[in-house]
């Protein structure tokens, strides 16, 4: 914890002028931002504004046409996704597809099996099953409840989202990128997930949240970047950003 506090304010992720086109579609155009350790950054924007593409650019699933991404000072532009993940960048996917046939807790075996976890735990894996069950408890699966053992494919939506969060925890990531984690959740489910994210922040993690649920996002985010047609049109405190006319227009769709 001490170490984490010492390092706050240090730039952990630096995105510089990244662009990506798909055929004629300019999905992301010259987007830049710096992210400091311990920040919770929201990325918002209308449908198709390039949010998911930006996540893919940071995590290596899409290679940028130009621009660079640095993590902890290291240039990771164009790296393979698994190498980037090993540095401690975890992400969730907008379309959640769990390892459907595996019981919920066995889904965590995959991130727990990664070389990163092995290195961090001193070169041996140990009993991953019990670690996995502990992690599920951390994200709100009741201990020894039947959901833990249920095939992930049959889990209710709220549990699936928590399972995705647990995967990020399993990787012991420092930077966690959540692509529309809140979508499709009821108010009650949200109320149980928000504290988990707040706890991550207390632990010194850095989080990027792509969100359409602005009200819920603004309660926890200290900063938002607004994308529109691939451009970052605003970057700042939620309250200030939402006052801007161009942001309002982007959201209302008026020209």
């Amino acid at each position: 914890m001490n170490e984490a506090t010492n390092k706050t304010n240090e730039v952990i992720l630096s995105v510089q002028e990244v662009s990506k086109s798909f055929g004629g579609v300019r999905a992301v155009v010259g987007v830049s931002f710096d992210l400091r350790r311990g920040e919770l950054l929201g990325i918002i924007g209308p449908n198709g504004s390039g949010k998911t593409t930006l996540v893919n650019l940071i995590t290596g699933f899409v290679k940028p046409d130009s621009g660079s991404v640095k993590y902890e000072g290291q240039d990771i532009t164009g790296w393979m996704p698994y190498r980037i993940a090993r540095l401690g960048i975890a992400r969730t996917f907008q379309m959640i597809r769990p390892f459907a046939e595996l019981p919920a807790f066995k889904n965590l075996i995959i991130p727990l099996f990664s070389p990163r976890v092995k290195t961090l735990s001193g070169g041996k894996y140990g009993d991953l099953d019990s670690v996995a069950k502990d992690l599920l408890e951390e994200v709100g699966f009741e201990r020894e409840s039947s959901v833990t053992y249920k095939a992930a494919g049959s889990l209710p939506h709220g549990y699936l989202k928590r399972l995705e969060l647990a995967k990020c925890l399993a990787l012991r990531a420092d930077l966690i990128i959540l692509d529309e984690l809140f979508s499709g959740l009821s108010i009650a489910e949200l109320a149980s997930i928000v504290p988990i994210i707040e706890k991550l922040m207390v632990e010194g993690k850095t989080v990027i949240m792509i969100e359409h649920r602005l009200r819920e996002l603004f309660r926890i985010a200290n900063r938002v970047v607004v994308l529109n047609y691939g451009h970052a049109i605003a970057d700042g405190k939620p309250s200030e950003v939402m006052e801007r006319d161009d942001v309002k227009q982007a959201y209302l769709g008026t020209e």
Partner: protein, 335 residues
Amino acid sequence: MKQRRKERIDRGTKARSDDIFALTSYREMLYVAVPPVLPVIALLVMPLILPPYWQKVLLQTTIFALLAISWDFLVSVGMVSLGQALFFGMGAYVAGCLDHYAGLPIWLTIPLATVFGGALCTVLLLPVLRLRGVYFSMVTLVLPLMLERIIEATGMLGGTEGLTGIKPFGNSWVEMYVVIIVLLIALFGFRRLVTTDYGLVLKAIKDNDRSVMSAGINIYWMKAQALFISGSVGSFCGAYITHVYMFVGMPDFALDYSILPLASAVVGGMGTFAGSVMGAFILVPLSEALRNVGGLRIVLYAMSLVVFIVLLPEGIFHYIQRKYQQFERWVEVEG
């Protein structure tokens, strides 16, 4: 009004839990032990009672069962191969060359061919590991045919004649039991492997490779390892058959070695390995039995394949397993 209805009950023992089950009586112990133990005993006894011709069929069957297992394993990692013949032929040629050119003894050629054959196949397929689905399948289908033509065109490694005079096993009991033991090891080894953490990760690649990558796992390295494992099993088969027939040649890359294992796994039930073995033990002897029929052999064979797949699309093994774990009875219900 009273009506009769069929009721289906799951047996209590081992019910649905692979992890924890308590055995409370001899009957339950038998219930759990019989399915794996009985076929093993049958397999070990068969060579002692079969006539010589059917012993040869048993040997063939065992080889195809092994190939089917190696195919099933690759599929479980998301690689649908149409070219087990590549693995088979590679092992056959490596063993043949080690015997013919280097004069190595049989107890060296087979293990060496198993490892190097597997490695060669992996290296050959490395460039296409990134291809998914049908694109990967196409390449595996074409590669053995291509190697066959290269050997034909260049005349190397014996060309169209092949290499003859390869050392035989010398003892037919050793010959028979080597392959049976290897099959049993492979069967139980693979069944065990897929339940380990390593095996789970391999299977997860098939489910969702992006999710596996974002967990920091190099899926291409994992797939290469799976290819090596599967390739080695296939290569063992080729190397073994080379010594049985004392010959290696272009037929070792034949399409049969690609298609029959696939058919066995599908008919028997994919993803269980036991199904692959079961499928091979039905299809290969069936194909032999149909030899007497003459011209219509292929037609009958194809028809029986279709019948199996239409009647039991889940595979014979899954069907039997389900039936074994349930029993049905008629009950009276108020209508």
